[in-house]
């Protein structure tokens, strides 16, 4: 009878218990390229430049320039810290001003309107983190046509709609860090669930797909349970993590947090349930938000690129693009205090591999 009801409820609505082939919920359908299980993978060749070029841009070399930074949304710690990195670069360079302005919700339409208004107001450069790579492309192309320098960071647009993209970490690199860390904490035969923002967020969807590919290759005995959505909402993330813990009980060994909102909230759920050490939380989060849990020995690590550095590098790249010193075909970029950054994927500047923060070093960082 129980089975009958479950089956009745089932028809199309239920996610059938996971068979090895079925895609993880929340992934996208782009091709994946998992890294090698052990050791370093060789860096890919940058290839030929495929970014765009502004039309009739004035000579901005060494000139004072005004740049606007349009993140996915304002009002979250993540983009507040990238903005602070940009301001560090502003102080260091002296001949660039950057204003951060953007929608209060991660909304494609509002973001387009922001870009549009700044094109009209006549800025010299636009830094962006796209809510949707395709939707934002036409308006960015208009910016290039108007002679504005366009550089992306954090979330890319179509390549020909911007000049360069500062990539915080390659998706397969993020996937490897997350899954290696998870496997080291729960063993290679544990079960885990994922808490993400929404299924439509491109970065998260990309990482989930890469994580699946890497897991099938390197940790075939890990069991994926399910993915739940929690928006960019603290309390909802907490409630969803709590529900996962209640639902699976001992069966659940780990929770993967895909956003800087979900990971601390999941850690809080683990701590409040007294499951420290029994359920691991591995995920992307700002060190500051994770300090209470890591210093309290409840959670072992948090994974992230340095978001302040990401903003800093984006501002440095913008300055060099405006100066004309960063040209198509370059293989490295000199990014101030960060040293030489590598060029990958034709027109992307790579910040580096994602960093795993642990109790040893997390207190050295403040962002």
């Amino acid at each position: 009878m129980k089975k009958l009801i479950t089956a009745l409820l089932g028809a199309s609505l239920l996610s059938t218990p996971v068979s090895a082939q079925s895609a993880w919920t929340g992934g996208d359908d782009q091709p994946t390229s998992p890294l090698a299980c052990e050791g370093e993978s060789p860096a890919p060749e940058p290839g030929e430049y495929n970014g765009g070029t502004p039309t009739d841009a004035p000579d901005r070399n060494g000139q004072e320039i005004t740049v606007v930074d349009i993140p996915k949304l304002v009002g979250v710690g993540y983009f507040a810290s990238t903005a602070s990195g940009m301001q560090q670069a502003v102080e260091e360079l002296g001949n660039i001003t950057i204003n951060t302005d953007g929608p209060t919700r991660a909304n494609i339409d509002e973001q387009i309107t922001f870009v549009d208004n700044y094109i009209t107001s006549g800025v010299d450069g636009i830094l962006f983190a796209a809510n949707d790579p395709v939707a934002i492309a036409p308006v960015l192309k208009r910016a290039l046509d108007a002679g504005i320098n366009v550089v992306g960071y954090d979330a890319d647009a179509e390549a020909d709609a911007r000049q360069w993209f500062v990539n915080q970490a390659l998706p397969n690199g993020v996937a490897k860090s997350m899954m290696d860390q998870l496997a080291s904490e729960i063993g290679e035969e544990g079960s885990f669930a994922i808490v993400t923002s929404t299924f439509t967020t491109p970065n998260q969807a990309r990482w989930i797909s890469e994580m699946q590919a890497y897991t099938e290759k390197c940790y075939p005995n890990l069991t994926f349970l399910e993915t739940v959505e929690a928006q960019e909402d603290n309390i909802l993330s907490f409630n969803q993590a709590q529900t996962l813990i209640n639902k699976y009980g001992d069966e659940l060994n780990g929770i993967l947090g895909m956003t800087s909102v979900a990971t601390p909230a999941a850690s809080e759920a683990v701590q409040q349930n007294g499951l420290c050490g029994k359920v691991s939380v591995v995920g992307l989060a700002l060190p500051n938000a994770m300090k209470p849990y890591i210093n309290g020995d409840c959670i072992k690590s948090t994974i992230l690129w340095n978001t302040v550095d990401l903003g800093y590098a984006a501002a440095q790249v913008m300055r060099q693009v405006a100066d004309g010193t960063l040209e198509p075909g370059a293989t490295t970029v000199n990014a101030g205090r960060l040293g030489e950054l590598q060029v990958v994927n034709q027109s992307q500047v790579l910040l580096g591999a994602p960093k795993v923060f642990t109790k040893e070093d997390i207190n050295d960082f403040d962002f």
């Binding site: 129980k2 996610s15 507040a80 993915t227």
Partner: protein
């Protein structure tokens, strides 16, 4: 007084319906997966959503008085941030708990005056407040989260007699509000104003002052909800929760509060808030594919409302 007994009957029916649905849900899902009715999960369903139930109490008063408030989500966000900033800047914990109540009441008194005396329709006044509060919050905080909250501040994590404090607040405030609405002159005037403002004015019930009082109480209750919201985790987000106002309004109306005013009780809205929380949790337990979760929620809301309408037509 004939009118009041009619309201009583119709909303008691809705409350019984909700209790039956909630029990049935717990029984069926608990039968399929016993962990759903474990103490842990019941606690998290109630605790994690108590602030919604609390806010829905105030919303019910507003709707019974014939008004609406779409700014509630933004108000809770603003009050939570104020509370967090106070405590991290060294003010005593009790003050950080109390301030949101007072500020919430003050802000909403202003809104109530706009509605009652300047005759700005409540949906417009609160739509404008939604813009002002949510925009102002970002301008003010610049998007930084508030962390480093002291342990003594975490009101929502306290327990009394083994029961988490949010549950005490939810139950206690529901009972107080229900008694207030049923047995006091103020409660009767709220129903009177909502069901027929012209008649209320004619019979000498202070229409405008009742509306202002309702909004002031609603603001103070939002302050309580904000404190519960802010003290649940160790960080406070400085954006307003997206769509929270819709969740709260839905809880009120599904709880039997008529959007036309004059009808409903606060007990129903609390039950409805519990029902929604339980539905959200049960869908995960039933393995409903997360992609379809919101569609299922929509169908359930619609079914509840249609059942209520059918029942009302039979009895009325």
């Amino acid at each position: 007084m004939k009118a009041r007994s009619f309201h009583g009957v119709s909303s008691i029916g809705q409350e019984i319906l909700l209790v039956v649905v909630i029990l049935a849900l717990f029984a069926v899902v608990g039968w399929i997966n016993p962990r759903f009715v474990s103490e842990n999960n019941l606690t998290s369903i109630f605790v994690g959503n108590a602030y919604i139930a609390v806010a829905a109490i105030g919303m019910s008063l507003v709707i019974i008085s014939g008004n609406i408030d779409v700014s509630i989500g933004a108000l809770i966000g603003v009050l939570a941030v104020i509370s967090g900033l106070l405590v991290t800047n060294g003010y005593p914990v009790w003050f950080a708990w109390l301030a949101p109540l007072l500020i919430g009441a003050a802000i909403n008194t202003l809104v109530g005056c706009l509605i009652a005396y300047a005759r700005v329709p409540s949906i417009i006044a609160t739509l404008a407040m939604l813009s002002i509060l949510s925009g102002g919050l970002i301008t003010f905080t610049g998007g930084q989260w508030i962390s480093g909250l002291p342990g003594a501040y975490q009101l929502a994590q306290f327990r009394l007699l083994g029961v988490p404090s949010p549950i005490w607040f939810m139950v206690g405030m529901t009972i107080i509000a229900a008694l207030l609405m049923r047995y006091t002159a103020f409660g009767r005037s709220v129903y009177a104003v909502g069901s027929n403002p012209e008649a209320a004015r004619a019979s000498g019930i202070g229409h405008a002052s009742t509306v202002v009082k309702v909004f002031a109480i609603h603001g103070a209750i939002a302050g309580v909800a904000a404190v519960l919201f802010a003290t649940q985790l160790q960080v406070i987000q400085s954006t307003t929760p997206v769509g929270l106002e819709l969740v709260i309004i839905t809880a009120s109306v599904v709880g039997g509060v008529s959007i036309l005013g004059g009808v409903g009780t606060v007990v129903g809205s609390t039950l409805a808030a519990i029902l929604f929380a339980a539905i959200g949790s049960s869908l995960i337990f039933l393995n409903v594919s997360a992609y379809w979760l919101r569609a299922v929620q929509g169908v359930l809301i619609l079914a509840t409302v249609l059942a209520d309408m059918a029942r009302r037509r039979r009895t009325g």
